[in-house]
Symmetry: C2
Subunit: 415 residues, 2 copies
């Protein structure tokens, strides 16, 4: 078994060759990866079966077993995902800025790969294929560490895809799935400042917080979403209910789902009259402040903790506010800077909300569920950054690049 350090060294050694690949070469490699996955489906399913039986024996809960499980359909989906990445424009070599200085120096700022990208994730083996494809397309070497529950599946996926790359003459370090699935291997990745250019945690809030707090390698923090829907006094009630139900219920487990509704006092009676049956139909538990509790039969009293909770479930925190200012202050205090929405027909209120909410995505009259690289037209998504440096909001391939100034002269010197 190779150590994480040995695997990271392979990645670092591979990075210059990957940076030099043309878009055509990278797309051919991605196609080879996709075809290899399809051809090796039985082998992958056998490895996955080992993981599944170990997980079942350990009493793993059904939701996690479902994330872990592969079948031919899911392997086909991985291959299709890789081919979709191949179809995206190549960000590398794109000229961001350029000019000729008065002294004749030609200055070009061009996109280049970051180098080596580390990704730490949980039990979903499809992340292995997805991350491998995104890193390769952006010219980066990938060091991937999935959860230990998926160890056999991930190693098999790595062998199959890595084998396809090596058959094309690419270095083994282009794709390394971490062989040591122990807890120490994640810690080791966080210390590899000489090898990794960035570390991206993908998964639940606990994982993301642990990596953000513990890593000496620069981290792109993704995904934590405590998103609010503020129903303004001037909102159309039907629209407010439709958006809230979509934001809460269309996929409660994801980070762009709403966790809390703030309702203007003046519209609260009409809003709750329409919202209650729609939420009850979907069995949404309502955790309410005292004012809302008085309007909402069947609601339960909210605790302080509820205002900061990412439930990931059919639970909604509900609070009444006296106006826009109070809603803005509440969001500033309790939001996670991910996605926030106002429902309003008031132009000034919409503009104030857009201007003053400090979040990656701020909505007027639409569901927070749209915060997604695919929806926003980025073609793919590495994650949704909730930090301000480097990338904010849904990240496409560009987030896996940096730039380099290239300066061509004829002997110029500075005065």
């Amino acid at each position: 078994m190779k150590t994480v350090l040995e695997q990271a060294a392979l990645c670092k050694a591979a990075a210059p060759a990957l940076a030099g690949l043309s878009a055509g070469e990278k797309n051919a490699a991605l196609e080879a990866m996709a075809a290899a996955l399809e051809a090796a489906a039985q082998e992958i399913l056998a490895a996955n079966a080992q993981d599944l039986s170990a997980a079942r024996a350990a009493g793993t809960r059904p939701a996690l077993l479902d994330r872990l499980a592969l079948d031919e359909g899911r392997i086909g989906a991985m291959a299709r995902g890789i081919r979709q990445v191949a179809a995206l424009p190549d960000p590398i070599g794109q000229v961001v800025r350029g000019n000729t200085l008065p002294n004749g120096l030609q200055v070009t700022q061009a996109r280049v790969p970051l180098g080596v990208v580390g990704i730490i994730y949980e039990a979903r083996p499809n992340v292995t294929a997805d991350a491998a494809a995104l890193c390769l397309k952006s010219g980066n070497a990938a060091l991937l560490r999935g959860g230990k529950e998926a160890r056999n599946s991930n190693l098999c996926l790595g062998q199959v895809m890595g084998g396809a790359l090596e058959a094309l003459g690419l270095p083994a370090g282009a794709l390394q799935v971490v062989e040591d699935a122990g807890r120490e291997s994640a810690q080791a990745m966080m210390e590899l400042t000489d090898y990794l250019d960035v570390l991206i945690p993908r998964g639940g809030a606990g994982l993301i917080r642990a990596v953000s707090a513990g890593s000496r390698v620069p981290v792109i923090r993704t995904g934590e979403g405590v998103c609010h829907i503020y129903v303004d006094q001037s909102a159309q009630v039907e629209m407010a209910v439709r958006v809230l139900v979509n934001a809460k219920c269309s996929r409660p487990s994801v980070c762009n789902a709403a966790e809390c509704v703030l309702v203007h006092r003046a519209i609260a009676p009409a809003f709750w009259a329409a919202a209650l049956p729609a939420l009850a139909e979907r069995h949404v538990e309502l955790r309410c402040d005292p004012a809302t509790l008085a309007r909402v039969p069947g609601g339960v009293p909210a605790t302080e903790e509820d205002w900061d909770s990412e439930y990931g479930d059919y639970i909604l925190a509900c609070r009444e506010v006296g106006g826009l200012e109070e809603a803005l202050a509440f969001i500033a205090a309790h939001g996670s800077h991910h996605s926030e929405a106002i429902i309003t027909q008031d132009y000034a209120a919409a503009q104030t909300f857009l201007d003053q909410v400090d979040a990656a995505a701020v909505y007027v009259n639409a569901s927070t569920r749209f915060t997604d690289g695919g929806e926003f037209g980025l073609g793919c998504e590495i994650g949704i950054s909730t930090q301000k440096l480097h990338a904010r909001g849904p990240m496409g391939l560009e987030a896996l690049t940096t730039t380099k100034f290239l300066i061509r002269g004829q002997g110029q010197v500075r005065e």
Copy 2:
């Protein structure tokens, strides 16, 4: 005396108001800051005199005294610098990307301020004015901590400029000069993750390393420069000497100065015949590998340490190489990813160097001294980033911004 935490809280409270200022309001505030500095020149000089006499009493060396000293000319230069920042385009509100999705959602990605910018620097009081102006123009609150040797000067500059802002109705937190100049106050800034959005160290390598290693607030790492000039076999000797002399001698103390020359064996005799007198005239000490030592009368043997040194002085590390590959490997091992140059007439060598050197700025046939925001047409410079995330190379005002997705709908929900 306010604590760092109290001052940071003032900054955080001021950030939303600053984010909402128009370019006209910010430019008027900058003009007021510049005029206030000019009007308060005597007061500033008196505060500076206190710092200078304390520094002299402490036996401070002349170079540092010079950096610390202000006079009317230098105060005038600070005011001019602030007016130059006022003349720059406002980055805030710039639309980076935008489109209307098939469902009618209007998506706009716009530049917004980071929020609160912390800057830790050394004994040059002019950084106080410079940093204050750049932060204000980019809509950020500034928490500035200069070296304790300049404490009186910096506090006075902060009062004068901050007073001008408050007279215009801006919040006190727009500009805070840290009152507690103790070592702990720098450490405290590095822990203020709830208050500071970024921390930028400006100064020597020791400061930058300490802040990068110690900070929990995201850092933009600037300035360390171990820059090389590689003189290829095909170089024009006269050009190579001219560029090297400029890169080494025009201002040896700065980060874009060259520290090491790599000379192709085949051109070494001709190169050194021309370079030696030019370098001797400027009293440059040559620290040489054995091959170069044999060609260079008066050179001294280099130690291993020399290959990684940022001398900041009239000292040059000199090494002979067998070819481009060896030069590239040496730069990869010893460069600081700042600025690297090749002198060549060979098209393929130039292209290979541009492609393969992993640095913020890569030059063909020009001096590394051009790596500078002003020279590159960015209008100003917050520093030169040697990291890959967020910003790389000379940073203009954009580096003090992030973006926000603004989404305007009519009740859209996600399928």
